[in-house]
């Protein structure tokens, strides 16, 4: 994907059915359609959480502690403080999607900037890519953990940590695309017309390299949601009583033997959300790389 150069508009232009050819291909991919429907539903639940949740997710009802799934008034039961699990699950979607989107957005902003600088300005290529290589040298979520260790626990710091985790790949993808685009005729033409570097980057290069970046951003959303939930599970992200899925699973470990639904329900939330975005990614890959079909 890193070498993918943006297709000229004519190749993705509207086909006979009115929709662009790429979109029609996507709509024929069952993975993409299922993923898109699930993702839209999850984002819808996240946006409408305050209206959809039947109860206040933080209200502690000590008369109804650890109620099982299916209890009248509490369809998904209650936790050790009598809080409604359905309401906490719904509000958890809001937090997970918000943290995932914010960290991907921030990671994209920083990574794309680094990639553009490295790809466009030859002299800065080596130093910038050196930083990227160092960031990649931290395996898995280790760098995110180090950042949280330094900044302290909490959701805002998790966004920074997860964003930094995404930066190297955004930088690499952008650099590869900018390197391809830099020597294109339209860039030379813009230069010949006297355009300055910032203008060339913003007006000529970025619009032509943005599609692989946006596709990667959609794929990255799943990883970011998973990473943020993992940090919260480790006690480094959202703190109690926040209705965050990873933190809810962490809290529920004490009740693994007596009330297992407390661990299962938020886990299903994370799993379905990550699966939905992965299905979209799978659909995109099917269309972009037909060999793997």
């Amino acid at each position: 994907m890193s070498a993918a150069s943006p297709a000229p508009a004519s190749r993705t232009g509207p086909g006979r059915g009115g929709l662009p050819k790429g979109v029609r291909k996507l709509l024929r991919s069952p993975h993409f359609v299922v993923g898109a429907i699930l993702s839209l539903a999850i984002v819808g639940v996240a946006i409408l959480a305050p209206w959809l949740a039947p109860k206040d997710p933080y209200f502690q009802d000590y008369a109804n502690v650890l109620k099982p799934v299916g209890t009248p008034g509490f369809p998904l039961g209650t936790d050790q403080f009598g809080r409604d699990m359905l309401s906490r699950l719904i509000h958890g979607a809001r937090i997970s999607v918000a943290v995932g989107a914010a960290s991907v957005g921030l990671g994209m902003l920083v990574g794309v900037s680094m990639g553009v600088v490295a790809g466009y300005f030859r002299r800065l290529d080596r130093p910038v890519m050196m930083v990227v290589d160092v960031l990649i040298a931290f395996p898995g979520i280790l760098l995110a953990i180090a950042i949280v260790a330094a900044l302290g626990t909490g959701l805002v710091n998790v966004v920074f940590a997860v964003a930094l985790f995404s930066v190297p790949t955004f930088a690499r993808i952008t650099r590869a695309s900018v390197l391809n685009a830099r020597d294109e005729e339209y860039v030379s033409a813009a230069r010949a017309l006297g355009a300055r570097d910032p203008r060339i980057i913003v007006r000529a290069i970025l619009p032509n390299v943005i599609s692989p970046i946006v596709i990667y951003a959609s794929l990255r959303l799943a990883t970011s949601i998973l990473t943020a939930a993992t940090l919260s599970f480790l006690g480094l992200g959202a703190q109690p009583p926040t209705a965050e899925w990873g933190a809810m699973i962490s809290d529920a470990r004490t009740y693994l033997y007596s009330a297992r639904s407390l661990s299962i329900i938020p886990g299903v939330g994370i799993f379905v959300t990550v699966l939905a975005f992965n299905l979209i990614g799978d659909g995109l890959r099917d269309v972009l790389d037909p060999r793997s079909r």
Partner: protein, 312 residues
């Protein structure tokens, strides 16, 4: 090959320096004074300045970094602020557990090669469809949650495997039983990824001319698949497996926490929660260095297998 090895070794040095510098800066430029943290809320300003002097925190940042770097070259990763114990000793005690977990998870990951081959040879069949969807599920399950679910089913309900800790020797029956659930937890995502990569690599190779020639010669499908196609598919897969080993070390942070395994990953999390920065710094540098060195070994072995890379 010697020239290539030397070049790769030289390229690794600045990366390792960058890793130590970044880790050092992240932890030293963070808000809050470690001396105040160690001294506690009741410490007098004199006590705090004593702590600062003892830990060299009163010296300029670049001097502190150089001292840290000089210590690293002697294998000295500093001392735990909380336990007053050498970080290197703390790591060496826990390293066998982390390595055992990583190796066992690697074996689980390797099953992905088999699944990928089966899916590719039965392309577009129900088996292929099922395997690829199961692998998508494997990639989407949070591993900490998978670990808890495995504990619920196999430890609590069926009582087949223990829910916590590792047993030495690891290759004894009890040792293997204790390793099974953590290895499945840590290795599932890698297995799913390797299955998908093997499948797509195999499908690509199966379309090559030499495979068509092998078929045209009348060789049985089994020979074409395993002797001609699989061998060529495996080169990039081996690279991914090597890289995955480093990710297993990073992923051990989560798995060791879920299964209460006394390894380096759990030590890292405990140190963060206890704000023992010296231990966090030592753990992060140690894991990242191992990752960089494993990558280097993978690169060198890949070059050995693929001459195009050495001379390219």
């Amino acid at each position: 090959m010697t020239q290539y090895t030397l070049r790769r070794l030289l390229e690794t040095i600045p990366i390792l320096l960058g890793v130590t510098l970044l880790t050092f800066l992240i932890l030293h430029l963070s808000p809050g004074d470690p001396a105040v943290l160690i001294g506690g809320p009741t410490a007098s300003s004199e006590e705090i300045s004593n702590i600062r002097r003892r830990l060299n925190l009163d010296r300029p940042l670049h001097e502190q970094y150089l001292t840290f770097l000089a210590g690293l070259t002697r294998g000295d990763l500093g001392a735990s602020i909380q336990r007053r114990e050498s970080v290197a000793d703390m790591l060496s005690v826990r390293l066998p557990n982390t390595l055992a977990l990583a190796v066992a998870s690697m074996i689980v990951t390797l099953l992905g090669v088999v699944l990928g081959v089966v899916a590719a040879t039965k392309q577009n069949s129900i088996t292929d469809f099922a395997l690829m969807n199961v692998s998508l599920v494997g990639l989407s399950i949070p591993n900490f949650w998978l670990g808890l679910m495995l504990i619920i089913w196999f430890s609590v309900d069926l009582r087949w495997f223990p829910a916590a800790g590792l047993v030495q020797p690891y290759w004894s029956l009890d040792g293997l039983r204790a390793l099974t659930l953590p290895a499945l937890t840590l290795g599932t995502a890698g297995m799913a990824l390797v299955a998908r990569l093997t499948r797509s690599g195999m499908l690509e190779v199966l379309q090559q001319d030499y495979v068509r020639t092998a078929r045209a010669k009348g060789l049985p499908q089994r020979v074409v698949t395993y002797r001609h196609a699989l061998r060529n598919t495996l080169i990039p897969v081996v690279t991914i497996l090597g890289l995955n080993f480093g990710y297993l070390l990073g992923g051990a942070v989560v798995t060791e926490t879920v299964f209460a395994i006394n390894g380096i990953g759990r030590l890292t999390v405990d140190a963060i929660l206890a704000r023992d920065y010296a231990v966090v710094q030592g753990c992060v540098v140690f894991i990242a260095t191992m990752f960089v060195l494993v990558n280097l070994l993978v690169d060198l072995s890949y070059a050995l297998l693929n001459p195009q890379l050495r001379y390219g």
